[in-house]
């Protein structure tokens, strides 16, 4: 791995914001894997943390990587280690833990969101596929908090969502019923936000 990437990793050791540090590390990893044509995709809780900018907080970076064995030497070069029997790669100085639970993305690679950081890229599962993932947890694991997160994602990013694709993906995962409820809840959030914007303290220059 080249000197520039190692210097960037060193910079990140001083970053106090956990989301920013995690995305920075992922940008370096993605850049280091580029010559091999490997494209790690951020999924799970950390993707949700990105879309809520820290509203949801998690400890891990969950990645989907096709050919995950080839990531091992790069992670080692970056200073990550994995103890016997553990699934996470951990970097003590960065306090970042990475897990690669899957090789195949549960969702569309065309819909992936790209985040540019310092001329590098981080690839994140689409909002639509993340919503469907949370809805599946809500329905099949009876996780009501996941239903709330799905609705929040919808409300926060409603203008960026491909509703047709979302509905199709929800049908394929048999969660169209919980999607309908989440869309209703998203309207409640949006109404609350619009109501709040009418408070005078938010618009000091209006009479």
């Amino acid at each position: 791995m080249d000197r520039r990437l190692m210097d960037l990793l060193d910079d990140l050791k001083r970053e106090r914001n956990s989301l920013r540090r995690a995305l920075g590390v992922l940008a370096v990893l993605t850049e280091a894997l580029k010559p091999q044509g490997i494209k790690p995709i951020l999924v799970g809780g950390r993707a949700l943390e990105f879309y809520t900018l820290g509203g949801y907080a998690t400890k891990d970076i969950d990645l989907v990587v096709s050919g995950r064995e080839r990531v091992k030497p790069v992670l080692e070069e970056m200073g990550f280690s994995r103890r016997f029997g553990e699934r996470h790669w951990y970097h003590e100085e960065l306090d970042v833990a990475i897990e690669i639970p899957d090789e195949i993305l549960a969702g569309s690679s065309e819909k992936i969101v790209t985040v540019e950081i310092e001329g590098m890229e981080v690839f994140v599962i689409s909002i639509e596929d993340l919503v469907v993932d949370r809805l599946a947890a809500a329905k099949f694991w009876e996780s009501r908090s996941d239903a709330q997160w799905a609705a929040k994602l919808l409300a926060l990013h409603m203008n960026d969502i491909d509703l047709e694709y979302l509905k199709k993906a929800a049908r394929e995962r048999h969660v169209e019923d919980v999607l309908a409820e989440a869309l209703k809840q998203a309207e409640v959030y949006i109404d609350a936000a619009e109501g709040q914007e009418l408070f005078p303290q938010d618009r000091p220059f209006e009479t």
Partner: protein, 78 residues
């Protein structure tokens, strides 16, 4: 009275907590997600905060929407 360096203390605690988390998941698997939803009022307030963070981040340039499905983020908070 013992004096504690806050940053050093938090750093040490976070690393210990991460190690514990990793060992726990290795032994017992992923922790089940919480199925305890937040109460409606608290939930709305937290959503409004999330929305404000997005608006603030877009306004101060810490995150920028380049084109649909493409964002640009500042490298560090400095």
């Amino acid at each position: 009275m013992e004096r504690v360096d806050y940053d050093e203390y938090i750093n040490r605690l976070k690393k210990r907590s991460s190690r514990f988390h990793i060992s726990w998941e290795a032994q017992f698997g992923k922790s089940p997600r919480s199925n305890r939803p937040r109460d409606a009022e608290e939930d709305i307030v937290l959503f409004l905060l999330d929305r404000k963070w997005w608006q603030k981040a877009l306004a101060d340039g810490s995150i920028e929407k380049v084109v649909p499905r493409r964002y640009r983020m500042k490298w560090t908070g400095d």
